[in-house]
Structures are given as C-alpha cells and as structure tokens.
C-alpha cells in the first residue's frame, strides 16, 4: 500500500472512531478500529511497524480519551508487538484464523487495560468489566476484523514482505 495512503488512513482512524462509529455502537460498545489497524499492521509488516503504529495511534487516542495519559500508548503498542509476533508464525492466513487472532488480541487488550485500571484505581469488578466491555468489544472486533480481511486484505492481495520471493535476497530486519 502506498505510504501516504497508509498515513492518511491511520490519521483518519481516531476521528472516525470518535464520531461516525458512535452510530455503529451496540448498547455502549463500539468496535475498536485502531486495534484492528494495529493488528493488521503488526501482522503483515512486523512487530516494529506494529509497535510504532500502535504507540502513535495510542498517543492520539490518549489526547481525546477520558483515561489517563499513556494508557493507550502502552496498550496499543503492546498489541502491535503481539500482532507482529503472531505474524511470525503464519505465512498465509484465512478469514477464520484472522478472526481468531483478533478475538484473542482484543481480549488480551481488554485485560491489559483492566490491569492498568486496577493498578491506578482498584476496585473494578473484573466479571462486570469482562461482561459489559471486554467480551462485547472483542466479539465486535472479531466480526469487523473478519470483514476487513475479506474486503481489504484478500481483495488487495496484501502479503507479508518476506512472502515475496523477490525479497529473499535482502536480509529481513
């Protein structure tokens, strides 16, 4: 994908997440477009790209979120790292596998954020948070992640850089 297109999409994500996506909310839960973007970036471009993208978008999220500064930088950065590491295990993936990994990553993201909250302000019941926030968001992300894979990744035939035989001669950093 063209680098500028990628940057423009990345910059538009948070404004879309905070405005249009409110209409797509089920009860009080909306899909996390930023997490999905970080997942696909990390999975297809490696953990460093994932960490950088996640941290940068996390910073923007922190500016407009009601949470403490740094929470989203850390959470999205960790998700970028994890998605990059996950990507090392799979050369080619399917929609089902993508959905499974998005589900896993969303739950881990929820647990990371919950742990941070427990650290900062104790007393939040995990069962309640899992029931009303983590699980619905993870399921929503899973559906949207599967759709993005089917509609974008597969259509545009996005592959990992090292999946291209032409890149075999150059060392993978």
């Amino acid at each position: 994908m063209n680098r500028w297109v990628y940057v423009i999409i990345a910059l538009l994500l948070v404004p879309i997440q905070t405005t249009w996506l409110s209409a797509a909310g089920l009860h009080t839960v909306r899909p996390d477009l930023v997490l999905l973007f970080v997942y696909f970036t990390g999975f297809y471009a490696g953990e460093w790209a994932g960490i950088l993208t996640g941290s940068a978008l996390g910073l923007i999220m922190d500016f407009v979120s009601g949470g403490p500064m740094g929470l989203n930088i850390a959470a999205e950065g960790i998700m970028g790292l994890l998605s990059g590491l996950l990507g090392r295990f799979f050369l080619n993936t399917t929609a089902t596998l993508t959905m499974g990994m998005v589900l896993l990553l969303s739950v881990v993201d929820g647990i990371v954020v919950f742990s941070f909250h427990q650290w900062v302000m104790s007393g939040i019941p995990f069962i309640e948070v899992f029931r009303w926030t983590i699980l619905p968001e993870a399921l929503y992300n899973t559906l949207i992640g599967g759709f993005i894979f089917w509609a974008v990744v597969r259509r545009l035939d996005i592959k990992k850089p090292w999946a291209d035989p032409a890149s075999y001669s150059t060392p993978i950093v």
Partner: protein, 292 residues
C-alpha cells in the same frame, strides 16, 4: 414502317386534343361517358389515399408517441430529480426544525436560571469503550474549564475533565469514575450518583432508613459545587437493601439519553448573573419537576 407509326401517333394526339376540347366545350360529356371511366379510377385512387393516409397516420402516431415517450421520460427524470431534491430539502428542514427546538430549549433554560451558562455542541465521543466521555466545541477561550458542570434542559450530563483552548472533554454521569452529589426529591435523603459498567448509573450511600420508591426523582444536592441544587439527574430504579450493609443503593435511570446528546450547556459559574428582575433563582422550579 416508322412513318406509319409516326402518323398513328399524330392521329392519337389529334384525337386526344379533340377529346379534351370536346370535354371542355361540352360539359355534358363530363357527366355521362367519362363518369363510368372516372368511377373505378377514383375508387382505386381514394382507396390508395385512404391506405396511405392510414399508414401515414399510424406511422405518424407511433412517431409522435415515440417523441412523447422520450419527452415523458425526460420529464420523468426531471421530476424524479425534483422529488429527490425536495425530499432532501424536507429532511434538512426537519433537521433544522428539530435543532431549532433543541436550541430553543437550551435558550429557555439559559434564560430561566440565574447562573452563567455557555452553550456547546457535541463533536465527538471517547475512542475507547472504557470511558464514557464526549468532546464539546467550547474550551478555555469561551470560559470553559475543568470541573465545570454540564447540563441539558432535561438534566445533568456530567462535568468537564479536560479543557483546551477550543474544545473540552466531558465525563458523563454514567462513567464509572463520575460522582455527583444527589438527593431524593420526595424523602430528601442524600446519596452519590455514579456510573456503572453497563453504561447506566446508580445512587449509593443512601441511609438504610430511607424509604425509597421506584420512580422517585433524583436531583443534585448542590454539595459538590459543580452543580446547583435541584437539577434533575434521573429517577430511581430497583433498590438494593441488605441488612448487613451500612447503606442502601438503587439503580438510577438517567433523565438524559446520553446516546442522543447533541447540544449541552456548561455551567461556567454558579454566581448569580445580573439580569431583569423577577427571574427565577438558581434552582429553577421548572428544572426540578421537568421530565421530558
């Protein structure tokens, strides 16, 4: 041979001229002998004329219909465009009328109360599902600062937690980190309203002796200083009362529909502002009982 044929032709032409002269000079001839000759000829000619007229008329009719259809189609397309435009205009007008109603309500409230208010528009919501916040288009430049209360004509919305020059972030009353000092209108028991995980709210720290009823009005108590006394927060839902607990708590149905917030008012100061005499005080009676 050729001379003989030429003579015959001359004789024929001569006879024809004589016949024409006879017909012209003696009109009687037109009626009788030529009549029998004219009848079949006219019959054939008129038949042909009728046929040609019918064909021509039919063809012309089809041709005309074709042109009519083309023009009807064009007209239909134009009418469809007009209809779409008018429908769009109708939607825009309805939207404008609804916005005008909402703004009128805000203005009425602003006029009714004595404290300082700044109207603001919701421009965004929290990017994560962990916090219930909204972004408004007014900041420090407009006098909006942290810890200011935010309301609508229907009731309490929340308080400002971050503020920049042109925008501010409002923590909604349904966020788990929000706490608003409240009292039950009927019993005057005081408690604290806070948000829950499922996006609703509850009132805590109510006395065990309080006799609560579902549907009781919950108002701001005015103790925290963010909100004046008497603003509606919501109505009581199901009460939870245990013998072993020190306090009782109840679910709260917020009077504001937080998913449909569009415009709000920020209380920039609780000090009484100068205005025309006879205006109602800070805890306007309209607000106490208003349930829209």
């Amino acid at each position: 041979m050729l001379r003989q044929r030429a003579n015959h032709r001359r004789i024929f032409i001569l006879l024809l001229i004589l016949l024409l002269l006879g017909v012209i000079l003696f009109p009687e001839l037109q009626k009788r002998p030529l009549y029998f000759l004219a009848r079949p000829v006219v019959l054939v000619i008129t038949g042909l004329q009728a046929g040609l007229t019918w064909i021509g008329g039919g063809f012309g009719h089809v041709w005309q219909n074709y042109f009519d259809l083309v023009s009807v189609k064009r007209e239909n397309d134009l009418l469809k465009q007009d209809l779409a435009r008018l429908q769009n205009e109708k939607i825009q007008l309805l939207e404008a009328a609804q916005a005008a109603d909402r703004l009128q309500q805000l203005l009425d409230l602003k006029e009714a109360v004595s404290y300082h208010l700044v109207a603001a528009r919701i421009i965004g919501r929290d990017p994560s599902n962990w916090y219930r916040t909204v972004m408004i288009n007014k900041g420090t430049r407009d006098g909006v600062n942290v810890e200011m209360g935010v309301i609508t004509p229907v009731g309490v919305v929340g308080r400002v937690i971050k503020s920049s020059a042109t925008a501010s972030q409002v923590l909604l009353a349904t966020d788990r980190n929000s706490a608003v000092a409240a009292l039950i209108e009927r019993t005057r028991d005081e408690g604290l309203v806070e948000g829950t995980e499922n996006g609703m709210a509850r009132i805590k720290y109510l006395s065990l002796l309080a006799e609560l009823q579902e549907g009781d009005l919950v108002l701001t108590s005015g103790l925290t200083g963010v909100f004046p006394k008497g603003l509606q927060i919501g109505t009581l839902g199901r009460t939870t009362k245990k013998e072993s607990d020190l306090f009782q708590q109840a679910a709260l149905v917020p009077s504001v529909d937080f998913s449909k917030l569009e415009e709000v008012l920020v209380i920039t100061s609780l000090e009484e502002r100068p205005g025309p005499p006879g205006r109602s005080g800070p805890s306007s009676p309209e607000l106490k009982g208003s349930r829209k």
